[in-house]
């Protein structure tokens, strides 16, 4: 009998502690700024798409989940800033492993991985995200923690390598959101 009480001593002490549970749908825990969630395609300030359809993201993808079909920019009403643009840009979220190689590969910072992780759908077809879906701002933004604290590298690269630039893959604008 004494053995059993002794065996439960740690468990009994836990009875008087506060629960660590977070009530998820009501409380949305902020993600860290480097978190890799749902992809986003970006536009320049003048409204033109940053993506020029070079397919480097598709080449870099280890899961082969990106499909890019490029086309020549029309003379009237350009779509992108480059010579060509992505006529079709699709990401299959069911295949994506969120490794972030696409944003590392993109030379124009056109695609980044955002903070949103609530991606469940009731059909597989709905998980194929088209260009319009990726260009649009997400409906509900997931909060993010301090960029200053959790994204800026600890070392002043200026001193180490003579090149300091806050621009990282996850934070292409170089400034807190």
């Amino acid at each position: 009998m004494l053995d059993q009480v002794k065996g439960f001593s740690v468990t009994l002490r836990h009875l008087f502690r506060k629960p660590v549970t977070q009530e998820y749908p009501e409380y949305r825990r902020p993600v860290y700024p480097r978190f890799r969630g749902r992809h986003q395609l970006h536009r320049h300030e003048n409204g033109l798409e940053k993506c020029v359809g070079c397919s480097l993201c598709a080449a870099a993808c280890p899961a082969d989940c990106i499909r890019v079909v490029p086309a020549e920019n029309p003379v009237e009403g350009r779509v992108s800033a480059g010579e060509r643009y992505a006529r079709i840009y699709e990401i299959n979220m069911a295949r994506c492993i969120f490794c972030g190689y696409c944003e590392l590969a993109c030379p124009f910072d056109a695609i980044t991985l955002g903070n949103d992780f609530e991606l469940s759908e009731i059909s597989r077809d709905a998980l194929v995200y088209t260009k319009d879906m990726l260009l649009a701002k997400p409906e509900r933004r997931t909060p993010s923690k301090s960029v200053e604290l959790y994204d800026v590298p600890v070392q002043e690269m200026e001193r180490v390598l003579g090149m300091y630039d806050v621009i990282t893959a996850t934070n292409p604008e170089g400034a807190p959101e």
């Binding site: 480097l56 280890p62 899961a63 190689y101 604290l149």
Partner: protein, 418 residues
């Protein structure tokens, strides 16, 4: 070696089974021997392992492992991906000790290339290898205690595991499978908030490990279930090629972090392995709890002595150029395109790089034919080897003890089947 200094201990004799070392055939002529299936969907098998057990009453007299239910062909996949893309595949084998897979893969590519890794990157790699070891041991402890009928430890361990994963999310961007380790170093430098948070976690976990010890070491119910159950003598453990905590629980002083001088930053840090004496189920649990303590010590040592400098090697043929150079330097852009599309070429040759994962020796044997993809990658998974010995160890034990022994060997089926 430390084993000779201890008083001689009487080990039970355990012979390697023949003709198949992993298969135990019943020696009784009792006609009532019952053959039952444990798995593949059994909660205590840690994945999809099928154990075909032959029972004489409640005593295990025959045992056969059936593997391969989560075979994903990762070795074959790696042959079809460039070295850079392969990094994302390896952590998905041993999904509990994910970062060690990445480090082992990158280390073998670096060895083929003859690439020097900056000291800072080596230290960061050690920090995350130890964090992933903590993560793996916490899950082992939690699920292992569920197998023995105690659910409390599962909740405590999963609660604390989340704090470990928070650090992964902060630095690498993903809670598991981070692809943080890259050939030549690590993908990004540590953020400013990392050190205080890591020190906070070390303090927190030191405190909590005392609590786990209270639940297993001092708990009479736990001791009753585990002490003297499934004893593995050191000579048998060596014969069956056990490695990692399973081997050290039998008192064999072998840890790749310290053996032959260690690898990476372990060479500088110096590490002395945790050893137990009896090699029973209790000791296999105990060794892992004590290893969590030494992991915390190593993390603290790394944080104290973290050298400054670049976090990735400066080799433009292998390592992606810095982001900002893509907008200014044509040469960088060409290198970038080359690495992403075609991949870098690795000189022909073959290497074997063993690395101490949370489960033991995780070996990468890689053959390159000079192209951008590995010609052959062969892995030595510690779980697969550990499962080989379960038939001999469980011989003559109760069915419930078989579950305890299986839990204490800590197999991960993703690692085992690849």
């Amino acid at each position: 070696m430390a084993t000779t200094e201890r008083p001689t201990k009487l080990w039970p004799t355990l012979e390697v089974l023949s003709p198949i070392p992993s298969e135990l055939s019943p020696s009784t002529d009792n006609p009532d021997v019952l053959e039952i299936n444990l798995g593949p969907n059994h909660p205590s098998t840690h994945g999809v392992l099928r154990l075909v057990a032959k029972l004489d009453g409640e005593i295990v007299v025959g045992l056969r492992n059936e593997l391969g239910y989560v075979h994903t062909g990762i070795e074959k996949n790696l042959e079809q991906k460039t070295y850079w893309k392969g990094i994302t595949y390896v952590p998905r084998m041993d999904y509990l000790s994910f970062f060690t897979g990445e480090v082992g893969y990158c280390m073998s590519v670096e060895k083929l290339l003859g690439l020097e890794v900056p000291r800072r990157a080596e230290y960061i790699r050690v920090i995350f290898q130890e964090l992933t070891r903590l993560h793996s041991h916490l899950i082992f402890l939690g699920t292992g205690s569920v197998d023995l009928g105690g659910i409390a430890l599962l909740f405590y361990c999963f609660r604390d595991r989340d704090h470990v994963l928070d650090l992964f999310e902060m630095v690498t961007g993903q809670r598991m499978h981070p692809r943080y380790c890259q050939v030549g170093g690590v993908a990004e430098d540590l953020p400013r908030g990392f050190e205080p948070e890591a020190r906070k976690l070390v303090r927190y976990l030191r405190n909590k490990i005392g609590e786990y010890e209270g639940l297993i070491e001092k708990n009479p119910i736990w001791r009753e279930r585990t002490v003297g159950v499934g004893v593995i003598p050191p000579d048998f453990a060596i014969k069956m090629a056990l490695s990692g905590p399973n081997l050290r629980a039998s008192g064999v002083d072998w840890d790749l972090r310290s053996a032959n001088g260690g690898y990476g930053a372990y060479r500088e840090l110096g590490y002395s392995p945790v050893l137990a004496e009896n090699g029973d189920t209790f000791d296999r649990f105990w060794v892992r709890v004590q290893e969590m303590r030494s992991s915390l010590d190593l993390i603290e040592m790394c944080l104290d002595g973290l050298p400054s400098g670049p976090h990735i090697a400066d080799d433009r043929k292998v390592v992606l150029p810095p982001r900002h150079e893509l907008h200014t330097s044509m040469e960088s852009l060409i290198h970038h395109f080359k690495i992403v599309t075609e991949g870098f070429r690795v000189p022909a040759g073959q290497v074997y790089v063993p690395i101490e994962s949370a489960r033991g020796e995780f070996g990468f044997y890689m053959v390159s034919d000079g192209g951008p993809k590995p010609w052959r990658v062969r892995l030595r998974p510690p779980s697969f080897v550990a499962l080989e010995s379960i038939a001999a160890v469980a011989n003559g034990h109760y069915l419930a003890d078989l579950i305890a022994i299986l839990a204490s060997l800590d197999p991960v089926m993703g690692d085992c089947d690849r």
